[in-house]
Symmetry: none
Subunit: 230 residues, 2 copies
DNA sequence: GCAGCGCCTCAGGTCACGCTCAGCTGGCCC
DNA sequence: GGGCCAGCTGAGCGTGACCTGAGGCGCTGC
């Protein structure tokens, strides 16, 4: 049903392995992009929007788990298949917690990799239609149109407000610490003593509460959470 | 957030294995149906419409692959996780060809099975965002949402209360000394003569006992323990 | 240059929370 | 029974986390 070939991003610091995997997948009819560093992988995943990422855990710069977490935090739900020599349970737990769809330990057979890739894509093809509209309660955040509606009414947001709310809506019902918010929205490494985060929470609340009950709640000493009622 | 529990069908001809798997999954909050024959599995899958099927390949009457094919032929797209001792490539190929979503070879760890089950469900869209929920008796402590429920009712906790209860719930049925609690929650090196620990135990008891029988018990001169009954 | 807008800082006010304290209870031993 | 000690808990206090209105600064469009 899908005419254009599906793009797969393969990331590993070992060029020969990347080549072997890429060749196998190309032979199966996929379009493959290769990357050998974590940063390159992050950029490629964001810009090319591949249908699947085959991701080695051990990379020179950024940990594979870290890459997965960042992608998920940015609302990118592309399936991820981890590839690693570490096969302890803790490693697998960390991988799945980071949002993995499958986890394959080296050494593995290329045939099995291909089968698992197909299985994931088959499932992904049925399920997600990559709607760019995030929904929570009576909120609708259209990421592409950069537009927010609550109960049908359009609410104007500035760029920063939008970014903060998007982070909340990709993590509904979950308490987000100020440090997490600062990192995700402002890319602060360390949390200074700025209250910028509180300020934008305040802005958002003011706008959201005009059209309904409060949705962003403070969890004192912990962070904030998007949730209905309490 | 957490609607009705997701139903999982577990099929294996070895009752002890089915029990072990079912217990693990129930502990994680799933509703589990067990089957020990292929025909029973087919009927259960069609009638109960589970969110996922954990399926052994070797069954007395019907082959697991055969079951998968029949389900797919009937238009049932329920995700399937195969469980088998056969780990040759041909077996895996047959499994994936039959429509498997994952393939786990015995012996496997129950923890890994649970992780893979969660990964599949998350992808299928049924996921409860893999929120880490600690359970004990009728208590549910959602660490991500920073929320406590007892018998369904939400109980508000402050940050410190939450931290103390979390320590108890990660060590259920174990007596924890005041020194341990102080160290874990307050990061005190030495136990001073503060009664802060008792104070928070008191707070917790008051809140928990509003919704059920006492769960935190004093063990004189030793510490406290989270347990049902006496 | 000016107006408008958005991002961010600052500072004052409030109040929830963490913690202390002190009086009370209940079990245990003499 | 009386005294002692461990633990329980209600009251209260100080702190600092959080909220928000005001304003400065820089950018953009006219």
């Amino acid at each position: 049903m899908n005419q254009t070939p599906l793009r797969i991003l393969v990331v590993d610091d070992e060029p020969s392995l990347v080549d072997a995997v890429a060749t196998s997948l190309r032979y199966e009819g996929f379009e493959v992009t290769e990357a050998t560093t974590g940063r390159a992988a992050l950029v490629a995943a964001q810009e090319l929007d591949p249908a699947l990422v085959v991701l080695d855990v051990m990379l020179p710069d950024l940990d594979g788990f870290e890459i997965a977490k960042r992608l998920r935090a940015d609302g990118i739900t592309t399936p991820i298949l981890f590839l690693t020599a570490r096969d302890t349970l803790e490693d697998k737990a960390e991988g799945f917690a980071a949002g993995a769809d499958d986890y394959l330990t080296k050494p593995f057979s290329l045939a099995e990799l291909v089968m698992r890739v197909r299985a994931i894509l088959r499932r992904a093809g049925n399920a997600d239609n990559a709607s760019t509209v995030l929904r929570f309660a009576d909120l609708e955040l259209d990421v592409d149109a950069h537009e927010l509606r609550r109960a049908g009414a359009v609410i104007e947001l500035t760029a920063t407000e939008f970014s903060v709310l998007k982070y909340f809506m990709t993590n509904p019902g979950r308490v987000l610490s100020k440090a997490q918010i600062l990192e995700n929205v402002w890319h602060y490494d360390f949390d200074g003593d700025s209250n910028i985060c509180e300020t934008y929470i305040s802005y958002l609340r003011k706008k959201l509460n005009e059209h309904g009950a409060p949705l962003i709640h403070t969890v004192r000493l912990v962070g904030y959470v998007l949730r209905e009622q309490t």
